[in-house]
Symmetry: C2
DNA sequence: CCTACCGATCGGTAGG
DNA sequence: CCTACCGATCGGTAGG
């Protein structure tokens, strides 16, 4: 049930994005999709506006009709991906009761967002490695913090309730999120296991631990 | 004791690299260090040979006296980092007795390699995202596989011995390695926690699990 | 949206 | 290692 709720939320948000566009904005959406794919494959500085224009079969100058410059195009992809992730995951987690269930829904919904917007995720993941500040970077960092703090809060709640061991919530959250972020390095969307199925395994491993008898740990 | 062994192995390898160079190769080493830092900060396509030459206070053309081209310079950094990692970690793990101890030494030694060669690690981590094949990429993938299979073998051994739960060794290995790989996103070498200390926490979390009573999992 | 163009910068080379 | 240079490509703009 939690899965259905999450899935519904993801779909709704996608449709909203589509429905909010009108007329010639279809073209802008198409340009964003092409840019998304190229950025995810070649990175920001490895993708030229000529590459994007060529795949869209327009001139490079025409890109400047839709976007003020290269960075704005990239920023739009990153911020919209992050915004959708935070909103969708937060909403889905509200329907879970226990901390353990909240962690599971958080991870499952994240996996669904990843699956649905894989290229945007990958493009975003290498964003803002630069040291320079910008309003877009500040906003992205804030969204990322909000997202991570949501998970840490669930872990903290679980510890307080005695359901989780007394680990560092930030560290435990990093273990969980790192496992999802690592997926883009090896997981194929055309493989046997869907992203949510993989993440389910990750969560089971981290929740249950690797040791058969944790008490007997050296 | 396992920690001391691993640390010694790391040091030895570094000295070998340094000792193997002679005369004007000091310059080459300096160029590699500068390139390493810039690649880690700006990525491959975001770093120009002019940037590197400028920081080294030589002309760009002089770089071609030391390296055949930009890609060879990058490739050297990536392959040497990976080679040192595999060799050091493999050797360190031989001195561990149980599967659990082997996993711990694997992770601890990896953390020490990361700490000692942070920029090389970061530069390498985004390498070969491209789809094109090359002898260097093939070699890097082989080294990476060797490294990952080492950890998976330890996990498999632990499961066979009944010390670990019957999880998928590949998935469990990914959880452990992803946590280390994620460090470059947030961990500061000037922070309170050293890389090995952080990884110690990661390992404790994954080995022991998040749940207080795993049997009571929903 | 296009044509036509800009200065800046890219990786790389000739010749010493 | 340097001077001096190359063609190609970069993001971006003027003017329509």
């Amino acid at each position: 049930m939690a899965t259905n709720t999450a899935r519904k939320a993801v779909r709704k948000l996608t449709l909203q994005t589509t429905a909010a566009t009108s007329r010639g904005d279809d073209r802008q959406l198409q340009l964003l999709e092409i840019a998304c794919r190229l950025f995810s494959e070649r990175g920001f500085s490895g993708t030229s506006l000529r590459d994007i224009a060529e795949e869209a079969q327009i001139t490079k100058a025409a890109l400047y009709y839709h976007f003020p410059n290269k960075e704005a195009l990239f920023t739009k992809i990153v911020l919209e991906s992050l915004q959708a992730l935070v909103t969708t995951v937060r909403e889905a987690c509200e329907h879970a009761a226990t901390p353990e269930e909240k962690v599971r829904v958080f991870m499952r919904t994240t996996a669904e967002c990843y699956q649905q917007n894989r290229e945007g995720w990958i493009a975003s993941s290498n964003a803002f490695r630069t040291h320079e500040e910008s309003p877009a970077k500040t906003r992205a960092v804030a969204l990322r913090d909000e997202y991570e703090n949501l998970l840490r809060g669930f872990i903290r709640d679980g510890i307080k309730a005695g359901q989780f061991r007394a680990v560092d919530p930030a560290m435990a959250g990093r273990v969980l999120l790192a496992s999802i972020n690592s997926m883009s390095r090896w997981h194929s969307p055309r493989g046997k296991l869907s992203a949510p199925m993989v993440v389910e395994q990750f969560v089971d491993i981290v929740l249950g631990g690797l040791l058969a008898q944790p008490g007997a740990a050296t």
